[in-house]
Amino acid sequence: MIALMNPAPRLLAFAALLLLAAGPVRAQVATSLSSQTGQVGVPLQLQYQFSNVGKPADMPRSIMVDGLEIRLTGTSRRVEMVNLQTTSMFIFAYTVMPNRPGNFTIPGFAVQVDGRQVRTQAVSLRVAGSGGSMPPSPGPGVQRQIPGPPMPQQQPSQQRPPRQVAPSGQPSARTPPRTSTGEPAPYYGEIVMGEKKTAFVGEVVPVELRFYFRADCQFDNLQRPTFGGDGFTAAPLSEPEQTEQYLDDIPYNIVTFRSAITPAKSGPLEIPPAQMEGRMVAPGGPAGLDPFFDQFFQNFPMPGIGRAENIQATTNERQLDVQPLPKEDRPENFSGAVGQFTLKASADPKQAGAGDPVTLTLTVEGRGNFDAMGPPTLTGADGWRSYAPKESFDGNDAIGFGGTKTFEVSMVAREDRTATPGAEFSYFDPIKKKYVTLRTEPVAVTAAGSAAAADSTATAGADEDLPPTVGAPNDIAAPATVLSARGPDFRPWITSDWFHLLNFAVLAALIISIPYLIWMRRRAKKDARTVELESSVRTAKAAWQKATDPMEFYAAAGQFMVARLALWDDKLATLVDPAEALTRRIADPSERRQLQSVLAKRDELHYGRTSGGALDPEERRRVTDLLEKFSKNHG
């Protein structure tokens, strides 16, 4: 559903009008181009309109844009009074003559206005070749507020949009049709196709459906229009664009839909009118109201109050004389493309091993029937195997008329190659009215030949003589003559029993090995302790054998006994209680007592801090014998 932007509430506007009748108005500069699209050699009109300011001092006499000739053709001044508001305008009109096709931007520029510098808005223009089928469309009509001193807030309805230049060649747009009472029609439509009278089968003809709605009437519930007919296909309608324009001093909201038609057969083509449904709320009070109040609402319409009426805005019919594509000089590889195009080629990678694909990217750019366009034909494709291309389209307008279509052809070299095939693309140019064949040179690559590709390329029979087409293969590949190395089964290894068994076996082995690893870790730790204790035993033994001082002798003897008991109990030496261990380990009471006496002597000498003089040799021998026996019997 489409909703038209209506002016501000009218009652408020009326009140504001009374209050601010003589108030200042906002200064504006508006740039308008009679059409955003044009043709080589067909002039367009460019206007710069300065409202409510003094005359700009330094407007250029010409504007330099490569490919366009833009010259000042006149200056005028206009004073309008709307709703008791005076508007003064300076209008600078330029003629724009396109010299070549392309996309152009007419740049904005700075001018001095009332001592301030103001910059105009840039506008864009797309130019087709001479005789092109681009329909003129309303100019962008951009407006820019001139920065000025602060001014009181105004109701929006007090600002009247500046007049815009109506599209050239459309007298109907300037003069709205009249109703039976002679009033300008509150709504109507038109199909805009420029000066297009003839077309070729398959040629894309851009069209615009314009629906005009008086801005001083209320419309709502507007639906998307219906458009179509026999003998042609219509592109889906674009999203609507809304502009406002004065026609015969009546403000109209214009809703524009873009589309394109493609004639499917030759002969006279009737393009039926498009229709747009909606609802109009006519000014006036509700039905059955007293004539006095009805007159009041007529004079001072209020939003939401009025007589609702379902409407159907209808365009005019158009006719085209559709001509068939000529049969003479039609290239063999013509695949139905109609329009104007360019062709480019690139390849990636530049080096490919045996069996590696090279992607040849063929880019067709321009305007025309991209939907019906077939892929280019490869030339000099001996030694290459090509596959169906991957197509993509990047449109640069709302209807897919202009854009770039890319064909990515995967190719595998059958033999060693130093360049890709070339490409040919033929189309019919409706402007030149003849077929055009574009060619690209082979792209330098280094590709090694692949036997597999050679096998698959050996197509049978006469197909070999046909030029290779970038599309579905003409036939199936040649049969395999030898069995390849035995490949996998339909059942992937990952789902097979042996694969599961292998993984389960590894998992089981890992789980089983964990207790073993724990035991190994403990054993390693135990081994380290044993080594340490044995070292301690050896050190203590050497110490007591060399000691001459009784304290050193008994200290070493005690260390020897503790280390021996620790080894015996498989404990750390610090965790051994020698008295308890001797009681537990030594069964002979006499031996146990003697050993305990050695420990007691050690403690006595250690805690008493007395050396006790020289060690008695007899005592040394007795203790040594006792420890040797202890070591021998319990080691």
Partner: protein, 253 residues
């Protein structure tokens, strides 16, 4: 331990790679018949090879060719698909599939990421390598954890290997078309329809034209419960279905 498990596996693979003499003979017999234009005899020879357990992509390629020459486009497309699944780098099968699908009016499948990977390494091998890597990493990690000496480098290497291995296994699972299509069958019977119950008098749910892919969910007697492309489940006579990757080649009407 890994070596002890891997050795018999490699031996089994090497043994399986050898071509049996009768397989070669039967294959050459089929090729001769094909060259002489006796496509029915060629098909019979290739089919015999398949029934005897051959899973050679060349056999499926030539079987597809014989089917195509006999006007059986759908079975031909299925056999080309099988050849591609067995050998993703088989350009002959791919171009033939494109040609047949073009004749059937079915869009040719593009070269997906999985198929591009499959051209360079077999998914089976990828799964095996991933699995071995995963277990090697896990074992290294466990050994490092239980070691008396701290080994942070070994722990990190073990975790990394396990993660990479698991990723490879996941990739092979996700990319292998044999897994993705393991339950997919193609309608090969004329006038096939899906019904609400496994009976001829069941309510008709949909007409299934030849070539329609369906996913088999269950089977009962002569009927299979399939999920249609639109997401509806219905019963179809099993004889009208052709599994894309069968255990053995069924008789196609």
């Amino acid at each position: 331990m890994v070596r002890k498990l891997l050795l018999p596996l490699l031996l089994a693979v090497a043994t399986a790679s050898a071509q049996p003499a009768d397989e070669n003979t039967l294959f050459e017999q089929g090729n001769r018949a094909y060259a002489e234009g006796d496509y029915a005899a060629a098909r019979e020879a290739y089919e015999q090879l398949v029934k005897s357990g051959s899973r050679n992509p060349a056999v499926f390629l030539n079987l597809g060719h014989a089917d195509y020459r006999l006007g059986r486009e759908v079975p031909a497309a299925i056999n080309y698909r099988r050849a591609i699944a067995l050998d993703p780098a088989n350009t002959a099968a791919r171009s033939s599939l494109e040609h047949v699908l073009g004749e059937l009016g079915v869009p040719a499948p593009g070269l997906g990421a999985a198929e591009i990977v499959g051209q360079y390494i077999r998914f089976d091998l990828l799964a095996l390598i991933g699995s071995l890597l995963f277990w090697a990493g896990t074992i290294a990690f466990v050994f490092a954890i239980f070691s008396v000496v701290r080994r942070p480098g070994l722990i990190a290497a073990g975790v990394l290997a396990a993660v990479v291995g698991a990723t490879l296994v996941a990739l092979s699972w996700a990319g292998d078309s044999r897994i993705a299509l393991s339950k997919t069958s193609i309608i090969v019977g004329d006038a096939t329809d899906a019904r609400s119950t496994p009976a001829d008098n069941g309510q008709k749910l949909a007409d299934l034209p030849i070539g329609t892919p369906v996913r088999v969910i269950a089977a009962r007697d002569d009927w299979s419960l399939v999920r249609l492309p639109v997401g509806v489940d219905g019963w179809v006579r099993s004889s009208a279905l052709e599994p894309v990757f069968p255990g053995a080649l069924p008789v196609i009407p």
